[in-house]
Amino acid sequence: MKNIITIIVIAVAAVIGIFLPRGDFRDFRFGLDLQGGTHLVYEADISSLASSDVETAISATRQNLEQRTNLLGVSEALVQVSTTGDKHRLIVELPGVQDINTALSTIGQTASLQFAEIKEVPSKDKDGTPSAVLVPTDLTGRDLKSASVQFAGGQQLSSSPSVGIEFTPEGTKKFATITARNVGRQLPILLDGQVITAPTVGSAITDSQAVISGDFTLEDAKRLSIQLNAGALPVPIKVIEQRNIGATLGEKSIEKSLQAGVVGLVAILIFMVINYRLKGLLACIALLIYILISLSIFKVVPVTLTLAGIAGFILSIGMAVDANILIFERIKEELSWGRSLLTAIELGFKRAWTSVRDSNMSSLITAGILFWFGTGSVRGFALTLIIGILVSLFTSIFVTRTLLRIVYERS
């Protein structure tokens, strides 16, 4: 009795897990092949780093990239580090992003910001007109705390946008010194070596806030603040793989897979009931519970469902009854050797266990190696397979046995 309650509680929890909060399939995480998007792999160049700094630098780069993906306005962007041997890769997944060039330039750029002074050097020309030279100061993007888009005349859309910046305490000090000695002169701001604006210093600025105003459009101001926020990357990176997948296939593919899954499931249900009658029917109930539990795990973890992953899951529906078939065939044999029904059932579960265990272990070994071997969709497939094997062991043994005991001990 305790067991059946456990099963009911698990099944109900699984149903809730699948259908809440929105009651449909939108909450599953689908892979790029289903929702369309951009997949980028960067290799980090760590040749200039001491080996003790590599890990920190890579994880800082990952955070930086993550920040930049957020700036692209992608809600479910994923940035992962993959390290094999001395190679460090950053995998960036941008669901829904179709414009690969914008993505590449926003993510891959190394924005460096500098404040420069204008120094006049005496000209060698005879007329003596001094020429102006830009001299970078020690105030750089590293001294920035944050940047944001502001509007000069308050929050009115009509006013031209500007970029407000806030310095770190050290940056504030540097900025104060620099502005003090440049009152009345221009203070050019350089991004990646290009002058983006050259505001004139009115008076020495000693607080931590400053405004960069120029002839910005809203887009310009936004882009500038994005670039300032993201700053320069700690490690140079280089694209080694890029994939851009259109979203046209997605919904249709999910629908088709769903259809295939339902047809496959019905075929198995019929097969099981014809072959094993009442026992088969109980195995079908266990199979349905298997599907519910697996789906809710996919959603809660969450497992990224790619087309291959969904195919893997549908395949696993076929494999999930495997243990039950082994057990039921064993029960048939035990019966043919003259055991009573109840004894045959108990012995069937007991004696089939070694082959169930060993055969599932071999599948787990290859699925584990697949998980190690793969990235992206291969990994998704391996993960659905591993989850499927483990859950099916639970449902095909614990659930089926409980159901069989209840039905046969009554009669």
Binding site: G246, F271, G318, I325, E329, S359, S362, T366
Partner: protein
């Protein structure tokens, strides 16, 4: 139960396997596999445009692209494979193509894989297939260590792996033939299918071996080949039934599951049928032959 004499026809079953595997091996020798950019590195561009294949070729050549193939997928969609280009170059090409042919060009897919990534995938694929084999031999050797004296558990492991190699070779050969005649490419997903099939093939073999182990204990006086034969007969029903359920779901995927995973499903389906066959007709007879030679 009527006992079926599996071992009497042992060589006949090996011959069937040979007939199935050898054409593929020949194809592998002559044509090799049609490797996707996952392995070779390079770029792949899928576009929808009403311009002709010839215009596409000409425009690509005018951009100095190193084209490997332009394949029509129907519905005025083309798949262009070429040496590695950047997304900027791809963009320029599409603009040029649009102006050249006076039609719109829509990009469905653009993929670029660097040569390093491709080489690594190849190494990893080979390594993971070898690792799986080693781990499976190890696992079976350990799990079957308590078989009666006089039999060595590692022979069970090696026989299982021989059956698995049979399945892997059959798949590789089939896809070499498919690659040559139908331009089917071997990609990372194909490796996934091979590894899954390996897992399943051993899965089936273990069911048979497990019964052999049990019967060796039950009938200590029976000669080994007879025990094998008896065990095969006993487990035939369940070997077939467990495969049938998987074949049912895969067939359903093949019929209703859409195009993008079609060859992946074909690989799984062929591999699983082959896995069932090789477990019954290769692994167990091989084990019997091996033990008979010894005694």
């Amino acid at each position: 139960m009527k006992e079926i004499n599996f071992l009497k026809y042992g060589f006949f079953y090996f011959a069937i396997s040979a007939i199935l595997v050898i054409p593929g091996l020949i194809s592998l020798g002559f044509w090799g596999l049609r490797l996707s950019i996952d392995f070779t590195g390079g770029s792949l561009l899928e576009i929808k445009t009403s311009s002709s294949e010839e215009t596409i070729r000409k425009t690509a050549q005018s951009q100095n692209f190193d084209l490997s193939s332009v394949q029509s997928l129907g519905d005025s969609t083309y798949l262009i494979r070429l040496k590695e280009i950047s997304s900027d170059q791809s963009r320029q090409f599409q603009t040029k193509l649009a102006s050249e042919s006076g039609s719109t060009v829509t990009e469905n897919r653009f993929e670029t894989v660097g040569p390093v990534v491709g080489r690594e995938l190849t190494q990893k694929a080979i390594l993971s297939i070898m690792l799986s084999s080693v781990f499976i031999i190890l696992y079976i050797s350990i799990s079957f260590r308590n078989i009666p004296k006089g039999y060595s558990s590692w022979k069970f492991g090696v026989s299982a792996v021989m059956a698995l190699i049979h399945d892997a070779l059959l798949l590789l050969g089939l896809f070499s033939i498919l690659g040559h005649f139908l331009h089917v490419e071997v990609d990372a997903l194909f490796v996934t299918a091979v590894l899954t099939v390996i897992g399943f093939s051993v899965h089936d073999t273990i069911v048979v071996f497990d019964r052999i182990r049990e019967n060796l204990i039950k009938f200590p006086k029976k000669p080994f080949p007879e025990v094998v034969n008896y065990s095969l007969t006993e487990t035939l029903g369940r070997s077939i039934n467990t495969s049938v359920t998987v074949i049912l779901t895969l067939t359903s995927l093949l019929l209703f599951g859409g195009d993008s995973t079609r060859w992946f499903v074909v690989a799984l389906l062929v591999g699983i049928i082959s896995g069932t066959y090789s477990s019954i007709f290769n692994a167990a007879p091989l084990l019997a032959l091996w033990e008979k030679r010894r005694s």
